[in-house]
Subunit: 362 residues, 2 copies
């Protein structure tokens, strides 16, 4: 049930998938903000498919730790967004001001193996969420999108007017693009909707406390957690996919962005609402770093050697991408503050303090 | 429950949306085929959103009439494909050989007004159907696609290798394209799937009996039923959208195909299964006719004058499209037999015998 201030029920920010990597860092950013945490109840729903809840605990570890760190509380529901009836119960209990929709399956490789699961979770889930929002008169949405919607770049840096949906390399990328078009069509059909789609570049890093961070199940799909697990000795060595790309050192170039910056971007997007229509905004730093640069930076931050081997390109990977960040500056008054060294240092603090992630023994 | 021949339970062809326009004509074609109607139970599920069931009747009118015409029976379930539990009950009762998946919302203009309904019905529904098929070990699918997946043609005639998904003009078109990619990703992920996507051009015409035909709810979205309703006096006159297209007479050109030819195409696709993978095949005549040619042909067939007025272009409409039909010849051994005069004569027979469609009085 929502909480009250001076007898008035607070409005809620509802974060779907709020126990996940970007979700939990956004929860932390909202609670660390004295104005927002006073103004809103922070409500998380998560089906715990990619978040760990310790035995005997009611809340998943990232949220429990954020409560410890901030001394403030998060309201948590173990709910799948595709379950319309359960979702409605959450809307019954809270006066939702805005939904920040993180919940999705997100492993590119897995999406090729299990496409139907990705379409069902990501698209059906989003449709059910949008339908439930509309039934409850909630029209403010911040959607977790991805730079993968741009496909193989026609030009760099990637600005928001670059074509989307062409040459998408995986079912995962398609689900993100399709959800964007669903949101856009919806905003065209009904002027009540305010939808901001945040196109993330490559989120890395961890909370400054070193107590929450990225905790992928199984072998990591993304570079940074892979490097971190090699550094901490959990994995033996790193394969660098492709050393012959048309980039300065031949390895792939991406725009890595610190998750705390990304979380701050969500808080700024929240302040922009309502903004009628559909608005896509890149969240990146505007700088591209190569895989080899990332390895070097991580070796410096961790003081550990990262053994690696350059192997063949991976199907569907592109040579380089990085963001044009001018729209995020202009619209959100936001820009990434953290450096590559911050990203590596924070990742290393998290990984070395928690070699097995949130699960203490494994 | 499935029926038996010589003590063996027959396999079933399951037609979703089998009480609709193309669906019911395909039911008729399968029952009129002495071999297929002997070999298979014909099972239809339909949620009756776009099909009429007369008071006191168990079956919707098109199916009831087809049973009368053929003396053979159709098994009917009033089920929405998005209802996984109900769908499972149908799979429990029948040994399904193949699903022919017609069920979808299909009005382009309405899809702009109600996009979420289109995404939920067409995509969520298709995902639920695919998931249920897989759970029951049924991997043969014929999918009702559309030439709208090609967007604004880069070249004519449109062959199956033409890019899809670019510049799609409506949520309806997007749902068809997205369902195709879902099917294709699924077929890539698991070699057990045999999926044939039939890309219809513009279905028109009616059953030769004049007793079943297209029966749109409300004002027709498509040209032919609109012309027919003007001819029969149900609508006063026709607006021709655009007289300045780069076509021989300035009006838009489409590849109209007789629904009986289309139905025969489905029967041929059925014979091709199993064909592992995802295969898209155009079903068209390969000939383009303009709106003004259609009006003239219908005036000739009906002996009635069709009052019309040329007005501005309609947003999202393209100048011309028509099919390259060589793949349908090669793969299915199929080609359209009916002429434009047949299309008009059969439409007129249906419309003049049934001025209010299946509902006798309105």
């Amino acid at each position: 049930m929502g909480t009250c201030t001076n007898g008035v029920m607070k409005q809620a920010i509802l974060l779907t998938g709020g126990a996940g990597y970007v979700g939990s860092h956004t929860v932390a950013a909202l609670l660390e903000d004295p104005v927002k945490s006073e103004q809103y109840d922070i409500v998380v729903i998560d089906n715990l498919v990619n978040a760990y809840r310790a035995p005997g605990q009611k809340k998943p570890e990232p949220l429990r730790i954020i409560e410890e760190l901030t001394g403030k509380s998060v309201i948590f529901y173990d709910v799948n967004i595709a379950d319309g009836a359960k979702l409605q119960e959450v809307f019954d209990k809270h006066s939702v001001h805005c939904v920040i929709h993180f919940a999705a399956l997100k492993a590119v490789g897995e999406s090729v193996e299990k496409p139907l699961e990705y379409y069902q979770n990501n698209i059906t889930g989003t449709c059910t969420l949008l339908d439930t929002m509309r039934k409850n008169g909630v029209y403010n949405l911040i959607f977790s999108s991805s730079c993968t919607v741009y496909g193989d770049p026609e030009r760099l840096p990637l600005d928001e007017s670059h074509a989307t949906g062409r040459g998408l390399s995986s079912p995962y990328a398609r689900t993100k693009h399709y959800c964007e078009t669903i949101c856009e069509d919806l905003a065209v059909s009904d002027k009540k909707w305010s939808i901001i789609s945040l196109r993330y570049f490559n989120p890395v890093g961890a909370h400054a406390s070193g107590r929450i961070g990225e905790d992928p199940a199984g072998i990591p799909n993304n570079l940074m957690p892979y490097i971190a697990q090699v550094a901490v000795g959990r994995l033996p060595s790193l394969s660098v996919f492709g050393g012959d790309y048309p980039t300065p050192d031949g390895s792939g170039v991406r725009d890595y962005i610190h998750v705390a910056d990304l979380a701050a971007g969500h808080a700024r997007a929240l302040a922009l609402l309502p903004r009628p229509g559909f608005t896509a905004v890149n969240l990146g730093t505007g700088n591209g770093y190569s895989v080899l640069q990332m390895i070097a930076a991580f070796e410096k931050a961790s003081g550990r050697k990262i053994p690696y081997k350059i192997v063949g390109r991976r199907a569907g990977d592109i040579a380089a991408n990085y963001a044009d960040v001018s729209l995020s500056h202009k619209l959100l008054g936001w820009s990434a503050k953290k450096t590559l060294d911050d990203m590596c240092a924070d990742t290393w603090r998290w990984q070395s303090n928690n070699p097995n992630g949130f699960k203490k023994s494994s």
